[in-house]
């Protein structure tokens, strides 16, 4: 898939070989690894917080109709506010450390999970839910044993979406604010006319994305063996 990038070749879109060379160069650079580390930390931390908060809020709000109705308008109001527009606020609160990146990552990734969970909770099979009710499952047990498994496929989609949005935002924030990380390296490369290096770094972000998805898919196959979508692929 890399050659595809090389299809249109110009000084601005250097051929794969030069990108690869630049990539090799970068891997020898401790600064690169430090930046990669910074980005990954911001990403993982932000994602963890966002997923935790998103799932919690999604289940609580999704399963209580009054809350759902009450918050719907506010959610729709807050959601499209671009994280980018929050940059001044983030800088104000956290300066250019990891804190601002984290805040932006959390904000953007949260909605991805939250909305998916809302839809997942709405998808509970009424008969299954009534079965649980008739056996007088406690509220917690209903969530744990009925709501959660039903919502799980949605959660997975949400997490996969959030994972890449988090990565996108981590890098964008670094790019725009200049917090340490891959994004900053890209910005510096861009400003320095180091075109192959820039693409090498972009490729790195892409590869990160692929790895992250791989991880999510593996988890999904483990946890969703019972689900229709996985079932069909496992059984005869």
């Amino acid at each position: 898939m890399l050659p595809r990038l090389g299809l249109v070749d110009d000084r601005y879109l250097p051929p794969t070989s030069r990108i690869a060379a630049a990539l090799a160069d970068e891997t020898g650079n401790p600064q690169f690894w430090a930046s990669l580390g910074d980005t990954l930390v911001a990403w993982a931390l932000g994602l963890a917080i966002a997923v935790g908060a998103g799932v919690l809020a999604g289940i609580v709000i999704g399963s209580i109709p009054v809350l759902r109705n009450l918050t719907a308008s506010t959610v729709e109001f807050l959601r499209p506010i671009p994280s980018v527009a929050l940059i001044p606020l983030a800088v104000l609160l956290y300066g250019t450390d990891i804190g601002s990146t984290l805040m932006l990552v959390c904000y953007a990734a949260f909605w991805q999970v939250f909305v998916q969970v809302l839809y997942g909770v709405a998808d509970v099979d009424p008969v299954a839910y009534e079965t649980a009710r008739s056996f007088r499952f406690s509220a917690w047990a209903r969530i744990r044993h009925v709501l959660w498994p039903t919502a799980l496929p949605y959660v997975f989609t949400g997490v996969r979406l959030a994972a890449s949005v988090a990565l996108v935002l981590a890098i964008t924030a670094e790019l725009v604010i200049g917090a340490p990380g891959l994004g900053k390296e890209i910005a510096v490369a861009q400003a320095s006319e180091a075109v192959p290096t820039m693409y090498a770094l972009i490729v790195v972000t892409g590869i990160l994305g692929v790895l992250i998805n791989l991880l999510a898919r593996t988890g999904e196959r483990r946890l969703l063996a019972w689900h229709q979508s996985v079932r069909g692929e496992v059984a005869t």
């Binding site: 110009d10 000084r11 601005y12 940059i87 001044p88 800088v91 104000l92 956290y94 300066g95 250019t96 450390d97 790019l175 725009v176 604010i177 200049g178 900053k184 390296e185 910005a187 510096v188 490369a189 861009q190 400003a191 320095s192 006319e193 180091a194 075109v195 290096t197 820039m198």
Partner: protein
């Protein structure tokens, strides 16, 4: 703490930790060089550079106390000033070389472009990195000086690195660029039609280091030491261009070949007040400011 929770003061062993918000471009080479040379350490300042994209990102950092100092072009600083953002410059940042055709910022066109002089830019599309900022002001002035109608130029915003491609594809008719893109474009056959900083004012001071008025009030001594250190760095950089070219590779990714060809700016230690006044007037004329910048308040 005097100014913030994360940064300065805390006289731990008499050393002040100072964060400076900079844009990782050639203009700030002196401060990196000065750091290397120990000009700051000598004055009990432990320096960390934080990069930000342009004044809009750095000014808030300085105002909120995340950075103690920042680097920004004068137009941005004056815009902030007209909005009563509490900041004050503390040292000169970078200045034009003052030589036609040999400055670090210019308007360029492709080799075979019909545009010969700045006057031909009238009615044309010119790219700048930021709209309503220093780029358009100085370009308009170049057009005016060449006898054209400065108000009648169409500016388009795009990042510097994209300008060469846009120019060659014909998306824009001309591009206002600074180094290192300027050298790259020229090397590819691009032609310079106006040295805009030179046209705008004699020895224009383009940018400056600044701080918040709060820090100035709280810790005047630190500001004083910082100013001294910066001035020493500026002077050193101005005198040792080769060392400047070397230090570039430590904080940018400019490769050595390109680094050797770059036109370096001037780094005087004094802010050229008349040139800033001219810049202010030009900006006001072009409607960039909402009021008249109060240079008294802004300049040290």
């Amino acid at each position: 703490g005097t100014s913030s929770d994360s940064g300065s003061s805390g006289d731990s062993g008499g050393v002040d930790k100072v964060k400076v918000g900079v844009i990782p471009i050639i203009d700030v080479a002196p401060i990196y060089l000065g750091q290397q040379k120990g000009f700051f350490k000598n004055r009990n300042i432990e320096l960390t550079m934080e990069s930000g994209q342009g004044g809009a990102a750095i000014v808030p950092g300085v105002v909120s106390g995340q950075f103690q100092f920042g680097f920004s072009n004068f137009t941005s600083l004056m815009i902030a000033q007209t909005k009563n953002v509490p900041i004050k410059t503390v040292a000169a940042g970078v200045a034009s070389t003052g030589e036609q055709g040999k400055d670090f910022g210019a308007v360029v066109v492709t080799k075979d472009s019909p545009i010969k002089t700045a006057a031909d830019l009238v009615g044309k599309k010119v790219s700048v990195n930021t709209l309503k900022n220093i780029g358009d002001t100085v370009t308009r002035e170049s057009v005016r000086k060449a006898g054209g109608d400065g108000a009648n130029v169409n500016f388009v915003e795009m990042p510097f690195p994209n300008m060469q491609a846009a120019l060659e594809k014909g998306d824009v008719d001309a591009a206002w660029v600074v180094e290192p893109q300027l050298s790259t474009i020229k090397a590819a056959g691009g032609r310079e039609v106006a040295s805009t900083f030179v046209d705008a004012a004699d020895d224009l001071t383009v940018a400056a280091y600044f701080t918040s008025t709060k820090l100035l009030a709280d810790d005047a001594d630190l500001v004083k030491r910082f100013t001294e250190a910066v001035n020493e760095s500026l002077a050193y950089a101005d005198a040792n261009p080769e060392e400047v070219r070397t230090v570039l590779s430590t904080y940018t990714k400019i490769d050595a070949a390109l680094g050797a060809k770059l036109v370096l700016p001037k780094w005087p230690t004094q802010i050229n007040e008349p040139s800033v006044q001219t810049l202010a007037k030009l900006g006001e004329g072009d409607g960039i400011f909402s009021g008249t910048p109060d240079l008294e308040k802004l300049l040290p």
